[in-house]
């Protein structure tokens, strides 16, 4: 008698757990995009929607398969990856160094801050013509426009990270007579790391935005070029492949930066 009561209770518990809000929500989150794809596929095949604008997902995947085989996809993707990689490093490294210096030294801040405040509001893509004028229409201008986009976000966040280090850590450094270099390497830099990584993440988001836009107008290759030229030649499936790949690119870079964060900031792990 007693046992059955317990069993029933236990079973109820399992059931409620299985259909607990979080699990149900997770299931729904997987189902909703799949349902959309299925609806899209059905609508396209039944000609309920204009397949010139919305080709069936299977058509897009088939086009992607062909582009992988011919190497067209990889060529464009690798070109964009190199541009993002070089441009990102060109922007992030000086961004971190200048940001640290601004956070630590009032003089540097007084000099740089107005320049940052004055030029930050300019949409980065708006200076692409200027950059192409200076650096030509080759690869350099792509690196530079990405670097410019990245440096602001990294610099601003790094400086804020140093400024927001808790006073107590600076007091400890002072009390133990840590030298300038040690304050930099052992207190300011690690203290600002969480904000630096936040800056890198934001910078990466903007880098993806900027590279696609730059490749629309000023390139003969890259994911942005793929999307743009597919539109011009009305190869809509290829355009969708470009969109798919740029989405995956954003996804992959976010995962990479999250891994980086997890590894280098173990004290902020949750």
């Amino acid at each position: 008698m007693r046992n059955t009561t317990v069993d029933r209770k236990h079973r109820t518990h399992i059931l409620t757990h299985w259909f607990s809000r979080s699990n149900r929500d997770r299931l729904l989150s997987v189902l909703s995009p799949m349902l959309l794809l299925v609806l899209w596929e059905i609508s396209a095949r039944a000609n309920w929607i204009d397949t010139r604008f919305f080709p069936a997902p299977t058509e897009v995947f088939r086009a992607a398969g062909v582009m992988v085989k011919t190497g067209e996809l990889w060529t464009n993707l690798s070109v964009s990856l190199v541009r993002i990689g070089i441009g990102f490093v060109l922007g992030a490294v000086p961004g971190i160094l200048i940001g640290l210096a601004m956070g630590l030294f009032g003089t540097v801040r007084a000099i740089i801050q107005p320049l940052v405040d004055g030029t930050f509001p300019i949409p980065k893509i708006a200076i692409l013509p200027l950059i192409m004028m200076i650096f030509g229409i080759g690869e350099e201008s792509k690196y530079v426009v990405i670097a410019v986009a990245v440096i602001y976000l990294v610099l601003i966040n790094t400086a804020a990270g140093v400024r927001n280090i808790e006073q107590i850590y600076l007091d400890v450094g002072k009390n133990y007579h840590a030298g300038k270099l040690m304050m930099f390497t052992d207190v300011a830099f690690p203290g600002a790391l969480p904000m630096i990584v936040t800056g890198l993440k934001l910078g990466m988001g903007v880098a993806l935005l900027v590279i696609v836009a730059a490749e629309f107008v000023g390139a003969r290759s890259g994911i942005g070029y793929l999307i743009w030229s597919s539109w011009e030649t009305f190869q809509v499936e290829h355009m969708y492949v470009g969109l798919l790949v740029s989405a995956l690119l954003g996804f992959a870079s976010a995962i990479l930066l999250n891994i980086l964060e997890y590894v280098i900031i173990p004290w902020k792990r949750r």
Binding site: I168, D171, V172, N175, Y176, H177, A178, D186
Partner: protein
């Protein structure tokens, strides 16, 4: 409340202290001599006196406690002694210990004058326990292997063996404070400055750490200046208790308890002795005037 001269009470307290020093069995040397120390802050443009003339002699190797109502300037006094704040007026003279002969001239970086142990979480979250404890040694330019060797017994002494590679977020509040204590002791300062180090801990942890602090201190006999708002903690730990008045901070009285509670001490022995209640009553009587007599003290919390 004029700024110019110490009050009669301060002078009296100071005279009493000098007289006490003349006792034949008194420990002779003065470690920290404070004369006419004042600190004035600007709060919203208005000057506020945190310390109004402190004259004080802290003896070499004594455990000196400072108690006072909130905002009486006791933390300010400690931060000035630590070199983290500067006084508005007055002198602090510290007599240096004899320079210790270093066996290895490479590592003979000068012994630091003081190390502060803070109330709040002050160990670096990005360093493991070993590197945190070794921070002061690194600042003195002692090479890595050497400083790890020096640090090891201190990590053990505060009961953190096996945690040397742990990061602070893996430790409890009490363990973090142990790291902080080990960091201070490992740097072998002449003076230890402690600012309510156990105030944020639960009662049991506090009792355990007080017991261990007494034990470590009785081994090393460093000069300690210990700020607390807990009368009970002051009695248990200290040789002398300085009671401060509410803002502006002045010395109300210095009570000698070194002879009342013999060392080596046990927290429970001190607390169960008849003299404990007597000393507690005396300190509380002095403090009560300051807290009850000035209700605004219950509201203000300016360091």
């Amino acid at each position: 409340m004029s700024d110019s001269k110490p009050s009669a009470r301060e002078t009296a307290a100071f005279a009493g202290l000098v007289k006490a020093d003349l006792r034949p069995d008194a420990p002779a040397a003065t470690k920290i001599g404070v004369r006419g120390l004042r600190k004035r802050f600007a709060v919203k443009g208005r000057p506020v006196d945190a310390l109004a003339g402190i004259d004080l002699d802290i003896r070499t190797g004594e455990f000196f406690c400072v108690v006072g109502p909130s905002g009486c300037g006791k933390t300010t006094l400690l931060r000035i002694l630590a070199g983290l704040d500067t006084q508005t007026a007055g002198d602090i003279r510290v007599s240096r210990d004899q320079p210790v002969q270093a066996s290895n001239p490479q590592t003979s970086a000068e012994r630091p004058l003081n190390a502060m142990i803070f109330q709040e979480q002050s160990i670096f979250p990005w360093m493991n326990v070993r590197d945190n404890v070794a921070f002061g040694l690194k600042a003195r330019g002692i090479p890595r292997n050497e400083r790890y060797r020096i640090v090891e017994p201190y990590v053990r002494k505060v009961g953190l063996e096996g945690f040397a590679d742990a990061l602070p977020h893996q430790l409890s509040g009490g363990m973090k404070q142990r790291v902080s204590i080990a960091r201070a002791f490992a740097n072998d300062p002449e003076i230890l400055l402690m600012d309510e180090p156990f105030a944020a801990l639960d009662e049991q942890t506090k009792l355990i750490l007080q017991t261990e602090l007494i034990r470590i201190w009785e081994e090393t006999r460093k000069t300690v200046v210990y700020v607390t708002h807990s009368i009970d903690e002051a009695i248990v730990l200290s040789d002398r208790i300085m009671v401060m008045s509410a803002r502006p901070g002045r010395i109300k009285e210095i009570i000698d308890v070194a002879d009342v509670f013999a060392r080596p001490r046990l927290v429970e022995t001190v607390k169960s002795s008849p003299q404990y209640g007597e000393v507690f009553g005396r300190v509380w009587a002095l403090l009560r005037d300051e807290v009850v007599g000035r209700p605004e003290q219950l509201l203000s919390h300016v360091r």
